[in-house]
């Protein structure tokens, strides 16, 4: 059996240490896909137009999220780096439910991947920052966090990996299969039809992503533990 949700797995280990029950460094990395920058988006009737507005709000900004997810982690990291106060509203079973919660008025902001958030713009969701080095082609008018003075690059990378001790032959077989799959035109067209951008990174690039993610989570482990404790 393999898995894909790396950010959650790496973050869990950084926050809970040995209590997480696994050592992610021992997993066998294959390849990765869905390299998507995270964003901050706000509800239609809120006054916020930029990160600076969040800082000027004079109150903690309520964010809807799952509670213990990648979204929570990136809210905590962004809030710490950008210096805005925040409040977590946990318990939404996934990004669509949290976004609907924001549109209903349960909170004022959400933080999810750009491609996902893009689906809800016509419903009134307003993105105010993209945590990437450059502006995204889908949102040419939305400034990056870097442009607003905070050089944050927070990505959602879906990594294919195998359990510790998996045979190198099996790993190589799957790496080849995944590489061929991401070159198959029919497969790529089907992904595009579902409104996803089919990105692909080989094993070496993916190991670099995982290493950067591990460093990021280690840096903010104390803040993440504090955020988890506040929810409890």
């Amino acid at each position: 059996m393999g898995a894909t949700y790396t950010a959650g797995a790496v973050g869990n280990q950084a926050v809970f240490g040995a209590d997480a029950g696994y050592d992610f460094a021992k997993f066998v990395i294959l390849t990765s896909t869905y390299h998507n920058p995270y964003t901050i988006a706000v509800a239609p009737r809120t006054p916020y137009k930029s990160v600076a507005d969040l800082k000027k709000a004079g109150k903690p900004i309520p964010f809807c999220n799952e509670g213990g997810s990648v979204s929570l982690s990136y809210i905590v990291v962004a809030a710490k780096e950008m210096g805005f106060p925040y409040r977590l509203i946990p318990g939404y079973p996934g990004a669509p439910a949290a976004t609907a919660g924001m549109l209903r008025g349960d909170c004022e902001a959400v933080s999810y991947g750009l491609e996902f958030t893009n689906r809800y713009l016509k419903e009134g969701v307003r993105p105010i920052a993209v945590h990437a080095a450059e502006r995204h082609e889908l949102w040419p008018n939305v400034p990056t966090s870097k442009e607003q003075g905070y050089p944050l690059e927070l990505m959602l990378d879906m990594v294919f990996y195998l359990p510790p001790g998996s045979s190198p032959e099996l790993a190589d077989l799957l790496r080849d299969a995944l590489t061929k799959l991401y070159q198959n035109k029919e497969f790529l067209d089907a992904i595009r039809a579902a409104k996803f951008n089919p990105t692909f990174a080989d094993t070496k690039q993916t190991q670099r992503f995982v290493s950067e993610l591990t460093k990021l989570y280690s840096k903010y482990a104390a803040e993440l533990r504090e955020a988890e404790a506040k929810i409890k």
């Binding site: 946990p90 809800y120 409104k195």
Partner: protein
């Protein structure tokens, strides 16, 4: 919109689509009948087989599986007191006593007819609300969900006529059992007895339900040593029983409409599905009904339970199609199927692929119709299970339950839970306790807790949130009205007695 209807309807008339709808309905029906399997497992297993299909046929296939399992789950609930899926928990309360009276055929026909009619209402509401779907999907937030659950809990506490304290005590045990393990909002683990594995996920629902209902009944049957229904007391056999069951369903139009509405509303609320609507609608009917047979094989109670759980699909589909928020786990698998076939989910679905929305609607409708009509046709033969001698039936029930409990997660501890729940259920029944409050507490406890904590997070600790949201306030007034009505009823009864 009309273009979408015509595309979906013309695809429905293609032989391949029709064949896969029938196949999907049969798969769903069989999965529903077997404890431990349901529409979620059947859809997940069928998903890889849709790779080679065109996307419309694949979505018809998956929708048909999704809609047909609930009726399937009611068949063992009625015949052997084992709910095939959690959505048939309340069905056992009225269906099985009818089967024991020799009216299994009639009960199966009521179940099929009420399921079909409930499904039609649910899908009808979905169709009518299509233009307002986004608004409807945003209707239920945490405070509204909490009040809905509170209404269900209060209703059942008073529905156990003459024994409120016992009812509350047992539902309290159910709530406590539901709180074992991981709390989804706070991430806290509680009552897990130090277990770092099994109890972290809480008590497995299907293992608990099949144990409490099915295994406890198997113990009773084994001790009594007779058939579930004696041949000499089979009162409505053959086609006459089926016909009577169909007619019975239409004798309670208000019950049917009320329960279907409950089913739809529960479906819209995120995270709660047929297992909740089935018990909430039944509890409401048990409180209001004047039928002396309530709890002992009431037709009205069975109509309520069966129309609600099937109407839930229409409600489930509202947030699923409007916002990409799966209204249930089965809808999450369906969304996975849409993505797999290159259909973008979320608000884009209704903007750009209205024909797919109609394919889902027609697929759910067709799956419900095929399974329920099939159920009506087969009822007279299925009913014969109740005439099987105990020494054959009891081992078969035990094997079915224990295999089903193990099949869910291939975890031996689920088998242990089923056995312990069976012994507990037997103890309760033998001492005159109703199992319904236990089940309602178990199914609703964790949902109520999550919605309550989430609401307080939103309001920064203020309880005013439950009274300032219009739908939540309306549901709260329903809670107050239920309490006042019950008190009034009791005062009147006391006055008459004096």
């Amino acid at each position: 919109m009309f273009d979408g209807i015509s595309v979906a309807a013309s695809a429905l008339l293609q032989p391949s689509a029709l064949a896969f709808i029938i196949l999907g309905s049969i798969i769903g029906l069989v999965a529903g009948v077997l404890p431990g399997l349901g529409n979620v497992q059947a859809m997940a297993m069928a998903l890889p087989f849709t790779f080679g299909m065109d996307r419309v046929t694949a979505i018809y296939f998956l929708s048909a599986i999704c809609a047909s399992a609930t009726y399937g789950g009611s068949v063992p609930a009625i015949l052997i007191n084992v709910p095939g899926t959690p959505a048939s928990a309340a069905t056992t309360i009225e269906g099985y006593p009818m089967a024991k009276r020799g009216e299994a055929n009639r009960a199966l026909a009521i179940s099929a007819t009420a399921s079909l009619m409930g499904g039609l209402v649910g899908i009808g509401v979905l169709v009518v609300t299509l233009p307002f779907l986004k608004w409807a999907a945003l209707l239920f937030g945490p405070p509204e969900t909490f009040m809905l659950v509170l209404l269900g809990l209060v209703t059942i506490a008073y529905a156990i006529q003459g024994n409120i304290i016992r009812g509350l005590a047992i539902s309290g045990i159910g709530i406590l059992l539901s709180l074992i393990g991981y709390a989804s909002v706070t991430g806290v683990y509680r009552f897990s007895l130090g277990s770092k594995n099994y109890l972290w996920d809480g008590i497995e629902q299907v293992a608990f339900l099949t144990g409490v209902f099915g295994l406890s009944e198997a113990i009773q049957l084994g001790m009594k040593g007779r058939v579930a229904a004696h041949a000499e007391v089979v009162t409505l056999g053959g086609f006459r029983g089926t016909l009577q069951g169909i007619v019975d369903t239409f004798r309670y139009p208000l019950t049917f409409i009320r329960s279907s509405v409950v089913g739809v509303v529960v479906g819209i609320a995120p995270g709660v599905g047929g297992s909740v609507s089935n018990v909430v609608a039944y509890a409401m009917t048990a409180q209001i009904s004047k039928d002396p047979l309530i709890g002992k094989g009431s037709v009205e109670g069975l109509v309520a339970a069966e129309s609600a759980n099937n109407a839930t699909y229409g409600g489930d589909a509202i947030p699923t199609l409007a916002f990409g928020i799966p209204g249930s786990v089965a809808m999450a698998v369906l969304l996975g199927g849409l993505n797999l076939h290159g259909v973008p989910v979320g608000p884009w679905l209704m903007r750009e692929h209205m024909e797919i929305v109609w394919v889902v609607v027609f697929g759910l409708l067709a799956g419900t119709a095929v399974s329920c009509v099939g159920g009506l046709v087969l009822a007279r033969w299925l009913a014969r299970i109740t005439l099987v001698p105990t020494d054959l039936l009891v081992p078969a029930i035990v094997v079915l339950i224990l295999t089903g409990a193990y099949a869910i997660r291939q975890n031996f501890w689920d088998v242990v839970v089923a056995v312990l729940s069976g012994i507990f259920g037997y103890f309760l029944t033998r001492n005159g306790f109703s199992l319904l409050p236990l089940i309602i507490g178990f199914l609703l406890g964790a949902v109520a807790e999550q919605a309550f904590i989430q609401s307080l997070h939103i309001s920064e600790g203020s309880l005013a949130i439950f009274f300032t949201h219009p739908v939540s306030l309306l549901l709260f007034l329903g809670v107050v009205a239920t309490v006042l009505y019950s008190v009034f009823q009791r005062l009147v009864a006391k006055g008459v007695a004096q």
